[in-house]
């Protein structure tokens, strides 16, 4: 193997890119064992998964629809990771973004869509930014671990959502009915994001792609982006270079939250056209706040790499839903499988780091999740 790779250095690169695929396949293999225990034929099941994700134009469109929030969250994760912070708070940021944008749509039901849609997306972006900035401030100025604070912020956002959707923001129709399903009224049809083709695919996907390009330019072609990356690579050196590290930590978290918040707003205006809850965060987000992290890892923490990664992951989710419907497997299976994919993808980074270390001639980039000490060795 070693000599082969020495002869063809490009092979490394291909292996690097394929690594998360292998990890996902391994997770699916474990899932197959679980399916056998569930009494389902894994080949049939994964066949249904593939067909559900790519089977026809509608399936394909659904895949892209699912990829949209994943890509946006992943962009935020890229910024945070490059800035040296870990944002586990995507779920909560997505929820507050969705809530804020829904509030705009409900409050100005008679206003024109051309005015409300941009305003709503902006409000989602800002709400997410605030929700992300809080852990950022706590980290930068009070030294509070951002992993813990973002998890708590998730729980707070979910409880806030449950309260708002059960009481003040509930659909008046639900208020009359006995069931009182916790959801808002449907937003005005004028506020729906335009569809791209006659499927469920909406403008949000295009916006997410545009955002990916902008984030790429921001991180690699602007001074602020450069400083964020510098702080992430070496906070001490950055401080000596005169960069105000605390400020850039807050900025990384703020932007990270903002993109998750935008994802929430786009979910409301492009897909659901209302806000609803089943009591947990997952009910509304579909764990996009967590899965966005995996997508970002998949995409090598690069905004443009996150685009194909998000489509792949979107396909996995759409296909899994189809699998669940066709094979009558409980939704809980999907959650467990999701966890396995996270575990396998994050563990597979081990091999990427090992290979990176073996490549002596090429400059060693800081691998995701590695500590400064590791890069130094």
């Amino acid at each position: 193997m070693q000599s082969l790779f020495n002869k063809y250095p490009k092979l490394w690169r291909i292996f690097d890119i394929l690594l998360p695929f292998f990890a996902t396949l391994a997770a699916l293999a474990v899932g197959a064992v679980m399916l056998i225990f569930l009494g389902a034929n894994p080949f049939e099941a994964y066949g249904a998964l593939l067909e559900g994700a790519f089977g026809n134009i509608n399936a394909l469109a659904d895949t892209l629809v699912k990829a949209t929030p994943l890509l946006l969250v992943a962009l935020g994760i890229c910024i945070a990771f490059r800035g040296g912070v870990l944002n586990i708070g995507g779920e909560g940021q997505l929820v507050v973004g969705a809530l804020a944008s829904t509030l705009i749509g409900l409050s100005f039901a008679d206003a024109p869509g051309t005015l409300i849609i941009p305003l709503a997306l902006l409000s989602g972006f800002l709400a997410g930014a605030i929700w992300g900035a809080i852990p950022g401030l706590l980290k930068a100025y009070f030294n509070v671990n951002e992993i813990l604070s973002t998890i708590m912020m998730n729980a707070i956002a979910v409880q806030g959502m449950n309260y708002l959707l059960r009481e003040p923001m509930i659909d008046p129709v639900q208020l009359e009915s006995a069931s009182r399903i916790p959801q808002t009224a449907r937003l005005a049809v004028a506020f729906d994001l335009p569809r791209l083709i006659p499927t469920r695919l909406h403008l949000g996907f295009g916006l997410a792609i545009l955002a990916a390009i902008l984030v790429y330019i921001f991180l690699w072609r602007t001074v602020i982006g450069y400083r964020i990356r510098a702080v992430g690579l070496n906070a001490f050196a950055s401080r000596y270079a005169g960069i105000k590290v605390s400020r850039y930590i807050v900025l990384s978290m703020l932007l990270s939250g903002a993109f998750a918040g935008l994802a929430g707003a786009i979910q409301v205006y492009g897909l659901h056209h209302r806000m609803f809850t089943d009591g947990s965060a997952t009910g509304f987000t579909g764990s996009a706040g967590f899965n966005g992290i995996v997508v970002a890892l998949f995409g090598h923490l690069h905004p443009l790499g996150s685009i194909p990664a998000s489509i792949l992951f979107g396909a996995l989710i759409v296909g899994a839903n189809k699998l669940q419907r066709v094979m009558q497997v409980p939704t809980a299976f999907i959650t467990a499988l999701n966890g396995l994919v996270v575990i396998f993808v994050v563990s597979s980074e081990y091999w990427r780091r090992r290979w990176a270390r073996r490549r002596e001639t090429e400059p060693v980039e800081k691998p995701p999740g590695a500590t400064e000490a590791e890069v130094a060795t």
Partner: protein
């Protein structure tokens, strides 16, 4: 109606349930303390607790033997702890993310197994309260402290035991050395990874018991997402407690008292929306972290996989 809170019966009730509800926090957070002291951050405690809760409940339910249930929870916890060690220690995964994977896996898997094996919410007759002779007859104090079940007593007994193990034994010294300065420990012949495997497995076992303490000793039911965030709070409690068992004890008590208060507020129909009431422990966690982290420094190698220098 707020004044309803201040009758003796209610206050004793709050204190007694607060004392009792600290149990799962204590098991999980003490287990996590061992892991973090050795440098491993296991964020998947919540998922392990759920699996332990299910295993404990299911085995108790089918065999009618609570001890077998507890053993099953410990076994499941140990296996999950081993898995965490493989991911975080051997494969050196980013621990903040791998923990989320373990959480999602535990959340889904416990629910899946529950739906396959049982399907409906059942109850078991959990560990019965043990009235400690003489002490339990004391007014007020007796009701709060000395009429609890065995798992509650063990949880509190673990606090001094953990302190002793961490600070007075050879194994504890190795744990602290590996968490503070793995290179030095390694050069003195301590196997960093072996110690971290052991603490991860120990943490897994205690997380499993934490889950079982809910499903077969405190609530005596199992349902989807039974723990609802307790595992995450337990991880935060380790920070809050400054990586010391006594600090973990104080944190656990504060939290369970707030929880108990929150439950009683709902029982007494005091007009605070329950969703807002449930939010309180999380808000408190953030505030507690702000206060706590100013005092103590985390183990130096926390979250950093050990790489032997070439």
């Amino acid at each position: 109606m707020i004044s309803d809170l201040f009758t003796t019966t209610v206050l004793v009730g709050i204190l007694a349930s607060g004392f009792r509800l600290a149990t799962p926090y204590l098991y999980a957070a003490l287990g996590e303390t061992f892991g973090q002291k050795s440098g491993v951050l296991n964020l998947g405690v919540e998922g392990i607790m759920l699996l332990g809760a299910f295993a404990g409940f299911y085995v108790s339910f089918t065999t009618d033997n609570l001890w077998l249930g507890l053993l099953a929870a410990m076994l499941v916890g140990a296996v999950m702890g081993l898995l965490v060690a493989i991911i975080n220690v051997t494969l050196k995964a980013e621990q903040g993310i791998s923990g989320i994977g373990v959480y999602l896996f535990g959340l889904g898997m416990s629910d899946l197994l529950f739906q396959m094996t049982m399907g409906t919410v059942e109850t078991v007759k959990g560990f019965a309260p043990i009235h400690i002779p003489v002490l339990s007859d004391l007014p007020i104090v007796g009701e709060i402290f000395f009429q609890q079940n065995l798992l509650v007593y063990i949880a509190y007994a673990l606090v001094p035991i953990s302190w002793f193990v961490l600070n007075k034994t050879n194994f504890g010294l190795k744990i602290r050395a590996v968490g503070e300065n793995p290179e030095a420990a390694d050069s003195l012949g301590v196997s960093v990874n072996t110690v971290r495997y052991l603490t991860s497995i120990l943490g897994g076992i205690l997380s499993g018991i934490a889950g079982a303490s809910l499903s077969i000793a405190l609530l005596n039911v199992f349902q989807q997402n039974l723990t609802s965030g307790m595992g995450f709070i337990a991880v935060a409690l380790v920070y809050f407690g400054g990586w010391r068992p006594a600090g973990v004890l104080i944190g656990s008590l504060i939290f369970s008292m707030v929880n108990a208060l929150q439950l009683w507020v709902q029982v007494l129909n005091i007009p605070i929306p329950s969703d807002i009431a449930i939010m309180m422990p999380y808000l408190l966690t953030i505030l507690a972290l702000v206060v706590a982290v100013q005092r103590v420094r985390p183990p130096t190698a926390l979250g950093k996989p050990f790489e032997r220098g070439e």
